[in-house]
């Protein structure tokens, strides 16, 4: 057992570090001091510039095959680069969905011509992509979607509504799964496309989140025309194509910013309770120990995953627990930290709140972590079914034509 890189990994890490040192500013301090905000024009411009430099240096599309314009590298190289990049403060995140989910789907199911046209520009950050999957009536039950696609010659006409579309307002292209056959059973009537987000009939409305920010949108489609050449996969096989996109979601949703036990520990050292520093209080100590054990358990599980990747093996099932554990831990820790501050815990003003209001921000952002990219309940189903081998849920809509499936409240 050891935690060091192999010689090849060490060389790659040195190369990544040299590039970052020469091109970016190292992040100060250990705190993830952030205030949730919208991605404004200046942010997007800075992010695009950085992505271009990254691509020029060969650190974009590290694991993509060469014929997609990638580096043909290994997952462990990607992990190493990400670890090094995390030490620097970057405008990042807006390319994750495109590069992590959309473009791998376009490249896998599209033509070489399409790969040449779209992949390189996306890698360089010149075009940003979004994913148009969820609908008011289809969230966890994604295949219940009802945005309609009808064929008219060489074109498809799309009508309906998508929701929770991250970044739609600044994206150039999107991948979309639609229903082309309402008489077929749920999973069989779907067809998958990509489209220009500036197509006539596309209307984007930001959704204001409980945190006050607007990271995602509702997207309405009114007689939007998509050329048949932008269909990915066969008509009616959209579900199969969607799985390519979703398979990559776990990696994309992974390491989101927030708080960890170290920040709560730091707070507990400084906050004074009735009898002195909070860290001397037994109830506080017990909770901190619980989170420490979870936090480090995840970290060492990640080491196990890295070990498998380093050997070129597929990671074991332990890699599936991260999102479930992190999401509720974020919420529980932020709530606990606010309680520690007593009346002062209500303050969200960065002038007065400890750590510029980090815990108050996380209180309001953490509910989304438990829903986005697979809710806690879906994650537990995934662990139970794929890891423990328990049976899938019994589906009352199995084999039933979609237009005969009972529907209740559709979310609108």
């Amino acid at each position: 057992m050891d935690f060091s890189d192999t010689p090849e990994e060490a060389a790659y890490r040195a190369k990544a570090r040299a590039f970052l040192e020469a091109n970016a500013q190292r992040r100060e301090g250990s705190n993830m001091l952030y205030r949730a905000g919208d991605a404004d024009e200046a942010f997007i411009k800075a992010a695009k510039d950085w992505q271009g430099r990254k691509a020029d240096a060969g650190f974009a599309g590290i694991t993509w095959p060469k014929e997609w314009g990638g580096q043909g590298g290994t997952t462990i190289q990607q992990v190493i680069y990400d670890q090094e990049e995390a030490k620097f403060g970057f405008p990042r995140g807006i390319f994750d969905i495109g590069l992590g989910m959309c473009l791998p789907t376009v490249c896998k199911w599209g033509t070489q011509e399409q790969r040449d046209r779209y992949a390189r520009k996306a890698l360089r950050g010149e075009e940003i992509w979004c994913q148009l999957f969820s609908e008011p009536a289809g969230g966890s039950d994604l295949a219940a979607l009802r945005t309609r696609a009808e064929r008219r010659g060489d074109e498809w006409v799309v009508n309906g509504q998508k929701i929770w579309t991250s970044g739609a307002h600044y994206c150039d292209f999107g991948v979309i799964v639609t229903r082309s056959d309402f008489d077929a059973p749920k999973h069989s009537g779907l067809t998958y496309f990509f489209l220009d987000m500036r197509s006539p009939g596309v209307e984007i409305r930001p959704i204001k989140q409980i945190s006050g920010a607007s990271h995602f949108n509702e997207v309405f489609f009114t007689d939007v025309r998509i050329p048949d050449s932008q269909r990915l996969g066969a008509v009616g096989e959209g579900w199969k194509v969607s799985l390519t996109t979703l398979m990559n979601e776990r990696y994309t949703i992974g390491g989101r910013a927030g708080v960890d036990v170290d920040e709560v520990l730091e707070l507990a050292r400084t906050v004074e309770l009735e009898e002195g520093p909070a860290l001397r209080n037994d109830a506080v100590r017990e909770r901190l120990a619980d989170w420490y054990v979870m936090s480090r358990g995840l970290k060492y599980s990640h080491f196990r995953t890295m070990t498998a990747l380093s050997r070129g093996e597929t990671p074991g099932p332990e890699s599936s627990i991260g999102k479930l554990v992190v999401a509720s831990k974020l919420q529980a820790m932020s709530s606990f930290a606010i309680d520690l501050l007593e009346q002062g815990g209500a303050i969200n003003d960065p002038k007065y709140a400890p750590m510029v209001g980090l815990f108050q921000q996380v209180l309001m952002t953490s509910p989304s972590s438990r829903i986005a990219g697979g809710s806690d309940e879906i994650m537990r189903n995934i662990i139970a079914e794929r890891v423990l081998g328990l049976p899938a849920d019994i589906r009352v809509d199995k084999g039933v034509p979609f237009n005969k499936v009972p529907t209740g409240k559709t979310g609108d």
């Binding site: 935690f3 420490y292 358990g297 079914e385 328990l390 049976p391």
Partner: protein
């Protein structure tokens, strides 16, 4: 990054799993549980022959030279099998204590016999409910003679040698006591897990030898406990994994309302949560193994984290295993209660999760390094 056991040790694990499946089915655990037998003598002898009792000791001390990583691997397998033998007392506690604190002569006198399984050792600290801290104990040593009471002492019915904690004029200390010495009285006590017997030991002026430097009792006991916590954690993770597998298998076989109960989300989500707890415990235990094998500065923190995670995961897995089995899980005939008993017994033998959580935070308070 190589955060995994070597291929050799994985082969050892496979070998141990096959061996224990053959020599230690749950009927063997029940044989001890349901009788006055102190342990499974045939299994203990076989473990000695395999060289596993002395796995971590160097060959010159009569061991197999497999190191502490090898011992971790074996601990997990013994935990899976719930082996009814005094392995943890004799190996993780007594043997490791003498290795850590013993003089050359003491090591020479005890280690080879402990390694061969000819002699069984244990550690005796607690003096009844709640009193397990060195500050609270009253057994004492005056002029080289030990007096007092220890309760409960794991494997105290059969141990040949005990490392006993006692007060001295220079503060608490640890002592090696040959339990064949006159003045030692043993009394078997009933416990929540009769597959691992425990005893009350009384000492009336019993000759003993100090272990380690005078005045360093607390430090030495702390080091012994930290190291043992990691090995206990592997036993607990092994047991937790089996309890989870039992629950999963039953949930697949048992039908209710016309479908396997494992298709209900109430069961699926419960078992997913158990799986998460076991994986977090396993990963913490792995880090502990690394710290133990390398005698790393992070050992105390790693030990506490491994111990807390493993104690809680095993109890969770064992109680939910009963729950998934429903009424059948509450019968003597089903094996669920064996894990339920063992998990709680192991969960207090080296101190409760509560105690280790406090230790963990104390460790984080005092260490400057970001652990």
């Amino acid at each position: 990054m190589n955060f995994d056991f070597s291929d050799d040790l994985k082969m050892l694990r496979d070998e141990a799993r096959r061996f224990l499946a053959d020599k230690c089915p749950t009927t063997a655990v029940r044989a001890v549980l349901e009788s006055d037998a102190a342990y499974d003598k045939a299994l203990w002898a076989a473990l000695g022959e395999m060289g596993w009792i002395g796995a971590a000791l160097p060959e010159e001390a009569g061991g197999a030279g497999l190191g502490h990583l090898g011992l971790c691997v074996l601990a997990e397998e013994l935990g899976r099998a719930m082996a009814p033998v005094p392995f943890s007392s004799s190996v993780y506690l007594a043997t490791e204590a003498i290795r850590l604190g013993g003089s050359e002569a003491q090591c020479k006198a005890w280690l080879p016999r402990l390694a061969a399984g000819q002699v069984i050792g244990t550690l005796a600290v607690a003096e009844g409910p709640g009193r397990a801290s060195l500050r609270r104990i009253t057994a004492s040593v005056r002029n080289g003679q030990l007096s007092g009471e220890k309760l409960p002492v794991p494997d105290g019915v059969v141990a040949d040698v005990a490392i006993v904690a006692a007060q001295t004029e220079r503060g608490p200390g640890l002592f090696i006591v040959d339990l064949a010495t006159p003045g030692v009285v043993r009394e078997a006590v009933e416990t929540i897990d009769p597959s691992r017997k425990q005893a009350r030991l009384t000492f009336a002026g019993v000759a003993c030898e100090p272990l380690g430097a005078a005045g360093d009792g607390e430090g030495l006991l702390r080091r012994i406990e930290d190291r043992a916590a990691i090995l206990f954690a592997f036993e607990q993770v092994g047991g937790a994994q089996v309890a989870l597998e039992m629950a999963r298998d039953y949930a697949l076989e048992r039908y209710a309302f016309g479908r396997p109960i494992g298709s209900f989300q109430a069961i699926k989500h419960k078992l997913a949560d158990v799986y998460v707890a076991v994986e977090l415990a396993r990963s913490n235990a792995y880090y502990g193994a690394w710290a133990l094998a390398n005698d790393a500065p992070e050992l105390a923190t790693a030990a506490a984290a491994a111990r807390v995670a493993a104690s809680e995961a095993y109890f969770l897995a064992s109680k939910e295993n009963i729950q998934v089995h429903g009424g059948m899980g509450y019968t003597w005939a089903f094996d669920c209660h064996l894990h339920y008993r063992r998990s709680k017994m192991l969960g207090v033998t080296l101190g409760s999760a509560r105690k280790w959580k406090d230790r963990l935070i104390t460790q984080l308070e005092t260490s400057n390094a970001p652990a």
